[in-house]
Symmetry: C2
Amino acid sequence: MARRARRRGGVRLSKTVAELLTWERVCRVATVNAAGQPHTVPVCHVVDGGKIYFASAKRAPKTRNLRANPRIAVVVDVYTEAWSGLRGVLVQGTARLLEGGPAFRRARARLYAKFAHYQTTYPLDEADSVIVEITPTHVFSWGLE
Amino acid sequence: MARRARRRGGVRLSKTVAELLTWERVCRVATVNAAGQPHTVPVCHVVDGGKIYFASAKRAPKTRNLRANPRIAVVVDVYTEAWSGLRGVLVQGTARLLEGGPAFRRARARLYAKFAHYQTTYPLDEADSVIVEITPTHVFSWGLE
């Protein structure tokens, strides 16, 4: 059964939703440009303190979009051909861009811990990268208890 | 190398892009509501004549969003832990809602052919379902030749 959770100023992630978000390694993030055109790409995310974080290049379209409109949506889902077993979660929220400083470094450490790729091959340099922090405002899940 | 293709009034899908879109069985679609809030969920799509089609419930948020703003984005991507092998395609475009009639039935036949699930278990009834037709306006791909 699909479930909704809403609260102004941030919504708490249920245990099953947080588990899916925490362990899955890819999600798709949607942003909107100033003209109202949506954009969506896969990103690798972490969860920390009920918020979602992912890295983006400073000049990437999604970064540019978020500077114009901080509203964001993220979907984490697991596809299966047995459609009765489909499950996932849509998180809508507000994005804040972390551009260096302690909050950036804390989130980067979380990303490095989950994705060693970053540390070994694709370092997140404060000069070129931002980390996007999502505060959930609406959560909609399916196939999770 | 990432590649871009743009053209007003519809852009042609390259052979490798069309192949990925045609054979992959799930994509994620992003829409925007009247207040500029993005929404994204997984859908099962088909490609026909250079356009992308997927079904939606008449009352679903993405259907409601598309009635307010026909701009849409779809991402088809294949995740791998070997990040140098990541590949995918983002298609941005304009959506038209097919609500019954020959165009609806033609697209439904394509969906039924690719996803037998629809025909056997989740029939697409003209009373409850729409089919969204996407005309691509921008295509951005990565990891495809």
